[in-house]
Symmetry: C2
């Protein structure tokens, strides 16, 4: 179960200067709102969560009141605000003269300005770092949900090859991915699935379109499931009806082998205390030097990113400039790739949990 | 086709003070980034778009370079930035000493602070209003895409009843919705589908869970398709295998009749020059007074919101405090509902285009 009080004290410890936190939920929900409420249902656009002395006050609308009451943790008051004026006066009476911590990585500039004007706090400080540190190391309960999210997407991916056939489009395959995610009890996609056939796979973020599958062609599937707010993110690359004697197939397999090795080499270096830049460098060096540098410069993105509520979550990434260290309980993707424009690409991605001595695939 | 130059001049006209615009694309994409690029593929996390003198410069990463080059409009330079340092120095050389317009409704506070520090502009002004005004009135091309998005979701909804059966869960039905959206050539859901059975329908933003369908039960489906960046948002409420003699069914039908009338009454008042509060008030007055006030106070949300790239788009809404007027080319939802906690709810929603003399359902 989620222990909201524990989360509050974790975040508060990190930001000693502010004794009161404000989380605004806009059109796109601030993930910190989900983290600090545990809500898995509702939209809460325009709602505000105020946290003080271990208690939460949710200022929301009549529209969301019922769904908030159904889900609210013990130490939360839910107030259905009737008008913009009431919202303003409540914010003012809660925040006036105080030092208020906000999530500066999310809060839009214009909301910042209007809170300053409306609520007249003594001071507003950006406490995004405290949120990020708290969220970057996952609790055992969070790891359970993430394992579930991982399990769902892996089950989906393992079934995808049976849908491969000549003429199916990338969009149609994406439809099967999303259907199976929900069929296997996921709460939808954690991001729009990437489905790329043939040379489209050379573009790491290609969105599925009307491209039709042909024989001896790459099928790259990069997708994730949500499960109770938590994300997974896994990539598999296949060749549909390979012509094993063709030069094309041999080249794909050559690339596949390098990427597979790079993923394992990187994995071996992921553990607590290691800087995020290290596993990236290991993978990049390996790819750049394989086959006398035949694919040098073709690994065109970071090795990995933190995963949690957001598919690109907060915390230590596996990238060239990442100086922060990995800690036990962090979850990151390990996803090397090689991209050859005009030909295609291969990416293999798994989500891994950092422990003291190693990284474990989820 | 999209005329990006026309869009630039529309936005620039609205913000005479700034001659240069900066759109940062973060974890959640700023819709203005899509509006000003026309991109339908790629992620562009951490990219920056700078607009000056009718030209666009996209500072992005090697990861997104290929996909940007494939889609870029005529007057755009794409620069694949190699490091954080290069990003900083390029931003600085483009923005230093200038008055820079940003989208304050999106740009996170911490990004605002770091742009100020890194790029040393003369001044940063919030030009979100100019973007919002430009985007709120849809171009004919945008209306075409929105009609397509509407057509897809209506086709999906019309086929949903054939999946209704005893024991199917809300999540499973959501799976069918998303599958058909893509099957009918949509680019996925414009928001996670709301599927609510029975008393769950009393919560307007209920998320699909394991609830199983039973006979003589409400099925509320609120969902939307994306088509080339544009959204639709339509709600239908059904009764599965009604027991036409039951009190429950009669009550649902009574509520349904009121909501249906309210939607039409509101629609009749939607036209150019009318304040957004007017249609809302018409619907609310009708619902509150029907059957001698039996459902007074049970319409617990706004009548409608603007729709466009975002499903909750920018511009004039249909809500109690909306003083702005409707204009030809605006698109809004018309979605009254009645919610009885512990019993259920009915909502009917269509997207309508505002014209000089009337509103037309899409």
């Amino acid at each position: 179960m989620i222990d909201i009080r524990n989360r509050i004290s974790k975040v508060m410890r990190g930001s000693a200067a502010s004794r009161i936190l404000l989380i605004n939920s806009g059109t796109n929900q601030d993930s910190n709102f989900l983290y600090m409420t545990g809500f898995t249902s509702g939209v809460f656009e325009g709602s505000a969560l105020i946290i003080e002395k271990g208690y939460e006050t949710l200022l929301t609308s009549k529209l969301e009141e019922g769904i908030a009451l159904e889900q609210k943790p013990k130490h939360m008051d839910v107030i259905a605000v009737k008008s913009r004026e009431e919202m303003r006066s409540r914010l003012s009476s809660l925040l006036k003269g105080k030092t208020v911590g906000i999530n500066g990585n999310y809060l839009p500039y214009s909301t910042y300005i209007s809170i300053k004007r409306i609520a007249k706090p003594r001071n507003i400080i950006d406490t995004s770092k405290s949120f990020n540190i708290a969220r970057s190391v996952k609790e055992p309960y969070e790891l359970q949900l993430m394992k579930k999210a991982n399990h769902i997407i892996k089950k989906v991916l393992s079934e995808m090859p049976k849908f491969f056939k000549v003429g199916i489009t990338e969009k149609q395959l994406a439809a099967h991915v999303e259907y199976l995610i929900r069929e296997y009890n996921g709460d939808g996609s954690s991001f729009p699935p990437i489905v790329a056939f043939g040379k489209n796979a050379a573009l790491p973020h290609h969105m599925p379109d009307g491209t039709k599958l042909t024989e001896n062609s790459i099928v790259l599937l990069d997708c994730g499931a949500k499960f109770e707010n938590y994300s997974s993110d896994v990539t598999r690359t296949y060749v549909f009806r390979p012509d094993k004697k063709s030069e094309k197939y041999k080249r794909i397999m050559e690339i596949y082998g390098i990427v597979e090795n790079a993923q394992r080499i990187a994995l071996d270096s992921i553990r607590s205390g290691v800087q995020g830049s290290v596993p990236h460098a290991k993978a990049e060096e390996y790819i750049d030097s394989a086959y006398d540098g035949r694919y040098e410069g073709k690994f065109i993105h970071s090795l990995g990113h933190p995963i949690g509520i957001d598919v690109h979550d907060v915390g230590t990434s596996l990238s060239i400039n990442e100086e922060r260290e990995l800690k036990p309980g962090m979850v990151v993707s390990d996803e090397p790739g090689i991209y050859v424009r005009g030909f295609g690409g291969v990416r293999i991605e798994d989500d891994v949990i950092v422990t003291a001595n190693e990284a474990k695939m989820m």
